[in-house]
Symmetry: C2
Subunit: 192 residues, 2 copies
């Protein structure tokens, strides 16, 4: 199973906090694939975010997120601005996801953003996320490496090729599952 | 709890087939409110349907519906054209929902459309849906009554006032729940 997420995405916060535990329990292996929704939304005419473009949908999303976060015991604040610029966070994630602490770094970024309202485009915030999970703060600088930039670009293009139009998304072979509320179905498909 | 649905809406088919049984079991009373998504989508710039406007989203919706319908043992075909014109069906529903057979009529319309691929703008199809649940075929003619037309228009305006932007939606006092996958949460809120 592949797990596609954008650090600016609210519902990805819900999935990133539970996907590891759920898939370990189900015996399903997961490849984490950070990507950027921005270019995908822009190609659909949804700039900067469908939640800001359509106010009724945006107001609903926050009400829904508030209920779901409360039910799961997750803190939730609205980042300012929303959506956050997730480019550098995604590049750092690409640089560290092959380390054992990579997933913990991703969770730390979502916690900084949605539990504490910190700006994830602030390099100091990203450095703290790295060091708090035992990774070197230098990965923030390494994320500017052209090879890392190219890998994030390629991953965003791969998401487009798979017809991904939102986050979180889960893919199991050719099947696409969209939304934190389809995580259980994706795991069942991957186990079956 | 109020249940807002459009006869053209795929995910409303899932809810209309289970909402009665689930709410009876939970001891929650539900008012069924057919309305028209067309004017709401048009006001957002989503004409004729977001699923046709955004092909990746449309392809995903049918894949998702196929999985969900299979899991629930519901037949599913794609109506031609999609979306269907749901205006007359909604007017007839307004005319009969105060009868004991009203909900069964709504289920019959969804079954004609999504289980058998019949056209729900065909008056003969609507007459058959009426008679098969024990209602007079004459309600199709009565649906052209200005008072019925006005009630559907008012109900669609009430949906807009409640910031409803899709179907099915459920409202419990001031809380809005969107999508068949939020039906359980809506029932929990109404029971609480």
């Amino acid at each position: 199973m592949e797990f596609w997420f954008d650090f600016a995405s609210t519902y990805s916060y819900l999935s990133v906090m539970r996907v590891d535990e759920m898939t370990v329990e189900a015996g399903v292996s997961v490849i984490w694939r950070p990507f950027l929704l921005g270019p995908i939304f822009a190609s659909q005419g949804w700039a900067p975010s469908p939640f800001n473009l359509y106010p009724a949908k945006g107001a609903y999303m926050w009400a829904d997120m508030t209920r779901l976060a409360a039910a799961r015991g997750l803190p939730l604040v609205t980042p300012d601005p929303f959506p956050q610029n997730s480019l550098t966070a995604a590049r750092v994630a690409i640089a560290v996801l092959d380390k054992p602490e990579g997933k913990a770094f991703c969770r730390a970024v979502y916690a900084a953003e949605f539990a504490r309202g910190q700006s994830i485009s602030d390099l100091e915030v990203l450095r703290t996320c790295l060091t708090e999970v035992g990774l070197a703060a230098d990965y923030v600088a390494e994320a500017q490496n052209p090879e890392i930039k190219g890998r994030l670009k390629a991953q965003t293009e791969a998401a487009m090729d798979r017809q991904i139009f939102g986050a979180p998304s889960f893919t199991v072979e050719n099947q696409l599952f969209w939304g934190d509320d389809r995580l259980e179905m994706a795991i069942a498909a991957a186990s079956g």
